[in-house]
């Protein structure tokens, strides 16, 4: 019996990065300058949201009636609105509000949609048939109107907004999760796990989910700009957060009448919305390319 000797360590396949999937993904992500910048901005926006109480120059409801509609100055870097509220402060607190909704809503959508999608794929048959019809049913419902309906019935608060918008997002996650599950279930390595006797639940969690998570994360990030914009839209219409809470859409609503007097009042929130939407959008693209280099 002759054992065939092998030379030392295996050579790294040309062009591939050694290490785990995440390691390789991070490496790919780093190559993309736009994604890096966008990611940095997104992280900053997130940090501002978290640290709002500490970095805002003034309290979240502070009013200075002696300095209404003041332009940019040393005390008020971006000026004040008609009630003497510091614009910069409101922008920062608005960041917190907006981001809570922007992350909370997709999170709710994910939590509802992904398990449903996987279960639909798992059981198949009639169950899957019903799940697909459910997807179709909810797709028919105009999401924004549905959210508005909830608001009128149940009232509004930051968390309620996140919830209502989140509920309308579950279908997208459900479809994606189901598709990923079905695609991965027939792959050779899953078959190999079955042959080893791995129980179905473990296959789903240990084998399938880690491979499916990439597209789900990307989808999640891609929903953020949509939610920011939608929530801002609601606030602009007066159906979003109420005083004394601030969010960017509300800032626009409050100040639109004063546009000619102090354009900053409107430009600042618009800029914030734009920056947040763009950065998360590019972040989503960058993640998509990094997590799945074959998709171009």
């Amino acid at each position: 019996m002759t054992a065939v000797p092998l030379p030392g360590t295996p050579a790294v396949t040309a062009g591939q990065v050694s290490g785990s999937f995440w390691h390789a993904a991070w490496y790919r992500y780093r190559q993309n300058r736009l994604a890096l910048v966008a990611g940095g901005v997104a992280v900053m926006i997130g940090l501002v949201a978290i640290l709002a109480p500490f970095i805002a120059p003034y309290g979240d409801a502070s009013i200075d009636l002696t300095a209404t509609l003041a332009g940019a100055s040393g005390r008020h870097l971006l000026g004040t609105d008609q009630l003497g509220r510091d614009t910069l402060t409101r922008a920062i607190w608005g960041d917190r509000t907006s981001m809570t909704i922007a992350i909370g809503a997709p999170a709710i959508g994910l939590v509802i949609g992904v398990p449903l999608g996987i279960i639909a794929g798992w059981f198949g048959g009639l169950f899957d048939w019903f799940a697909l019809r459910l997807f179709e049913l909810f797709t028919m419902v105009p999401t924004i109107l549905a959210a508005l309906l909830f608001i009128t019935v149940f009232g509004v608060s930051v968390w309620k907004l996140a919830l209502f918008i989140g509920i309308t997002l579950w279908v997208g996650f459900g479809r994606l999760a189901r598709a990923q599950y079905l695609a991965l279930r027939d792959r050779d390595f899953v078959l190999a796990a079955r042959a080893t006797g791995v129980p179905a639940w473990r296959i789903t969690i240990v084998h399938i989910l880690p491979n499916a998570i990439g597209p789900i994360i990307v989808y999640f990030v891609q929903q953020v700009p949509y939610v920011i914009f939608t929530a801002a839209g609601f606030s602009f219409l007066g159906l979003g957060v109420q005083d004394p809470l601030a969010d960017w859409g509300k800032m626009i609503n409050d100040s639109v009448n004063y546009l000619s007097l102090d354009p900053l009042l409107v430009l600042v929130p618009i800029g914030c919305i734009g920056l947040a939407c763009l950065s998360f959008s590019f972040l989503g693209d960058g993640l998509r390319d990094a997590l799945d280099p074959t998709s171009r």
């Binding site: 050579a11 396949t13 999937f21 042959a195």
Partner: protein
């Protein structure tokens, strides 16, 4: 034949001397697919496997050879109950797989494993080699936790991989190395049977030989049985004790390896032999071969009677009327053809018999 008594699963079963490890009887696997049509879709049936019977003894290699669509891969997977058969019985270590409860089947899975064609696809890209090989150990609780690491190292050594492979990921390895990882994983549970589904087709020739050598050594050392599935007659010929040739879901010829390669009876087998490129320019040019015409019929609607008749130069009326049974024409040599004897005499495809017997192994 086994003694019929159901033994308790979970003990290390000892196969009775003479009793086959694996017995497959009348295996049928049909898939339903939706036919064409926009509103009312008709249902069509893919006859992937249509009545296959075979047996495999301990320490034996049975080669299963055929071209695409013949059902060999389906047979391999169904024998392990990875796909449910439509009909037929599968007995492993004397136990009828269809009669087992789920957890008994899981426990039995320890003893029968599979290695796939695409080595890289058969390994979860997110898991390290250590996790991949360690998982079967964990599932079947074969080794106490603190000894798992060592066992994984032993397995790596057994298949010729360096010990630092444990923390690396499949994409860092070549095809041949990935196949070694897959083999190590299959061996982790100490199976008695391994189904090898085209284990070397995706590999370079120089690596193929390494893997085949490894498989042979492992068989000798560990007393394994193999169901070796391939489309390459030469590779099957080097690995198998007995060979079954499949065409469109049926076994058309089954014999001891040497008996088959010395004299194939079935016209399709002859066509297969004749089509294999001979790695010798003179023999290749001398060999007057007749290339079989046409293509494999669709398995949605297999021909009546003998399925090969649409391409067989010797086909006659009886071939479409009656399906030929698999019968012995010589000792241990079974053929399903109405004109087996004549096929050998006439040699319609120019089987390179002289080429076979005159080739000395190793070539130059």
């Amino acid at each position: 034949m086994s003694n019929g008594a159901v033994r308790e699963v979970g003990e290390r079963d000892v196969v009775l001397a003479g009793a086959p490890l694996l017995e497959v009887d009348g295996l049928v696997v049909h898939y339903h697919v939706r036919g064409p049509g926009k509103v009312f879709r008709s249902h069509e049936t893919v006859h992937a496997v249509d009545g296959v019977s075979l047996s495999l003894a301990s320490r034996e290699t049975l080669g299963l050879v055929g071209e695409s669509g013949c059902g060999k891969s389906t047979t391999g997977r169904t024998v392990l109950y990875l796909d449910r058969p439509t009909a037929g019985t599968i007995r492993f270590q004397g136990q009828d797989l269809s009669k087992l409860a789920a957890h008994d089947l899981t426990a039995l899975r320890r003893h029968m494993q599979i290695v796939f064609q695409d080595p890289i696809a058969s390994l979860n890209p997110r898991h390290t080699v250590g996790q991949l090989i360690g998982e079967p150990l964990k599932i079947h609780d074969l080794v106490p936790r603190n000894q798992r690491r060592q066992r994984v190292q032993e397995l790596l050594e057994l298949v010729g991989l360096p010990s630092d492979a444990v923390s690396r990921f499949p994409h860092e390895f070549s095809g041949g190395q990935c196949q070694r990882i897959a083999i190590a994983r299959a061996l982790a549970v100490e199976p008695s049977l391994i189904v090898l589904d085209e284990p070397v087709s995706a590999l370079d020739v120089s690596i193929q030989a390494q893997i085949l050598q490894l498989l042979t050594d492992l068989q000798d050392r560990l007393g394994l049985s193999y169901l070796f599935i391939a489309h390459d007659l030469a590779v099957v010929g080097e690995m198998s004790d007995r060979v079954a040739v499949m065409y469109l879901g049926k076994i058309v010829e089954l014999a001891e390896r040497d008996s088959l390669y010395a004299r194939p009876y079935h016209p399709y087998t002859q066509a297969l032999f004749s089509a294999v490129p001979i790695a010798d320019p003179r023999l290749s040019r001398e060999h007057r071969r007749v290339v079989v015409s046409g293509e494999v019929p669709s398995s949605l609607d297999p021909p009546s009677g003998c399925r090969f008749r649409t391409r067989c130069p010797m086909a006659q009326e009886v071939c479409s009327a009656e399906e030929p049974p698999l019968e012995a024409v010589a000792d241990g040599h079974l053929v399903a053809c109405h004109f087996a004897e004549e096929a050998v005499r006439r040699d319609p495809f120019g089987t390179p018999v002289t080429a076979l017997t005159s080739q000395v192994d190793g070539g130059t």
